[in-house]
Symmetry: C2
Subunit: 292 residues, 2 copies
Amino acid sequence: MSNANRSPFRLDTDLIVLRSLVAVAEEGSFSAAAEKVGRTQSAISLQIAKLEERLDVKLFDRTSRSLSQTSEGEVFIGYARKILELADEAVLSVSAPKEQSMLRVGFAEYLVPQHLHIHLARFKRAHPTCDLNLILGGGADLLNLLDAGELDVVFAGPEASGGKQLWQEPLVWCGQLPATAKPLELILMQEPCSYRSIAISAMEAVASDWKISITANSIQAVQSAIKAGLGVSILPYSALQEDISVIEGVLPELPATSVLSYLPAQEENPLAQRFIDYLLCYLEKTGALHVA
Amino acid sequence: MSNANRSPFRLDTDLIVLRSLVAVAEEGSFSAAAEKVGRTQSAISLQIAKLEERLDVKLFDRTSRSLSQTSEGEVFIGYARKILELADEAVLSVSAPKEQSMLRVGFAEYLVPQHLHIHLARFKRAHPTCDLNLILGGGADLLNLLDAGELDVVFAGPEASGGKQLWQEPLVWCGQLPATAKPLELILMQEPCSYRSIAISAMEAVASDWKISITANSIQAVQSAIKAGLGVSILPYSALQEDISVIEGVLPELPATSVLSYLPAQEENPLAQRFIDYLLCYLEKTGALHVA
DNA sequence: ACAATCAATAAGGAAATTTTATTGATGCTG
DNA sequence: CAGCATCAATAAAATTTCCTTATTGATTGT
């Protein structure tokens, strides 16, 4: 007689299976999840089936056309996420330097990823000996601070040379379209701003009626103006907020911008490179942003 | 080119490997861990080796005669424990009933396992719709409450019929031995107490000088008396505390007692049975107690 | 020095998982 | 309503992974 039955509450599955599971939950489809985790659809199907059999619970309600989580599925997937989170943090932390250290990160405010605070908290947890500073601001200002030796790494758009491209950030039109036959009112950041020129040249390329109605000096000001319904603007995907509506189709196609990392020319800071790798890895995981 | 290198902080290992890992950490030896998890020594060796290779970090410092965790090992094993904890809790929670419910547990105070509060907290977390009551007391009192319908399950020694044996609890002598040529002073609970009679018959079986110096009315009183150095007593393993010293060898061998679960004769309470299974499973995992 | 114990390793075999290919079911479109 | 496309389940073969047996080298205790 085996003792398999002695451990009714013990789970011995592969973390790969849990990754597939959350992939299914996120993508809402076995096939899409399969592609995401780099396996076949049938592999996913079998993995989930086996897991469900082990748990003796259906995790998804699925017909061939729709897929939704059962209530048990919701609970279990919640745990799966936490487990994977811990597992990845564990990997991060074993390779952490053990000496006391300090990392000063600059982030262009209009490019701050949705969950940056979560990523920072995790990084801090996995690097207990590291003091983290986060400075938000305009790209140009941050790069000046970097040159002055007051930052260790800066994440910003393609505003200077020497940066290393990390991911592509889609630009989107958003805000309120004016009533028909009224000119389009643009809300833009003041110079120097790469999006400002992108917006202007995009509008110049099409023969429509437009004007610049508001020039703001911070991304928050732009966001406020958009929310107030004062016109349309372009924002990087990261800078979108709940109550900002995206405009699709009507206005000219926009290019994607790049997010780059900038390091000081002189000395090596291994922790800074580590932070870049880390962030890249987690943003990729989140799936919110597409790596170039 | 594969994209394996794209995910430097992603761990895709089997939970079995993590269980082996913490087993090695707990047992202090690959061979012992192998036996604990029901595999070969070489399997463990390979599992750990592969994990270390994946992490690019040594988890244990090992010569053929000694084994200790590296500092990275300590960190990673900490994560592994948390991961397994979560995984097992996940299994527990998917099979949890979803209706609002209530569970009143009685525990004989002299048998409370070391980490009961942790187990209770976990059970509560995995059963958010369940209200838990915990009553500690003497076994006889608890069984009366059970009969009166005021408890759903009682854990106690073999004080009544109808219990189901769960695990064996070793009895140990503890306290201060008297100076030589002085009579042995016993600290005992007042009647009815099964340990009292066990102690007395154990002493009667050997021809030594002894007397009952203190009769206490609670396990706390016995523990206090022992700590005060007022004599020797017998305690179930669970009731030992940091500052109570065990006496080995000198005094007569003691039998083990059993811990049993008691359920009301009448109606079925599935949650109570579930709690019993759960506790059994976790105490087994902890390794603190041996299942009968 | 010898026996005992422990972990590492090699090699073969066993078991699990993945893939390819197919089927059945469902919704969409013309 | 038929045909098409999409999705998940399944079967069977193939691959990979993992585990076991057997052995070696190293270390400690007697």
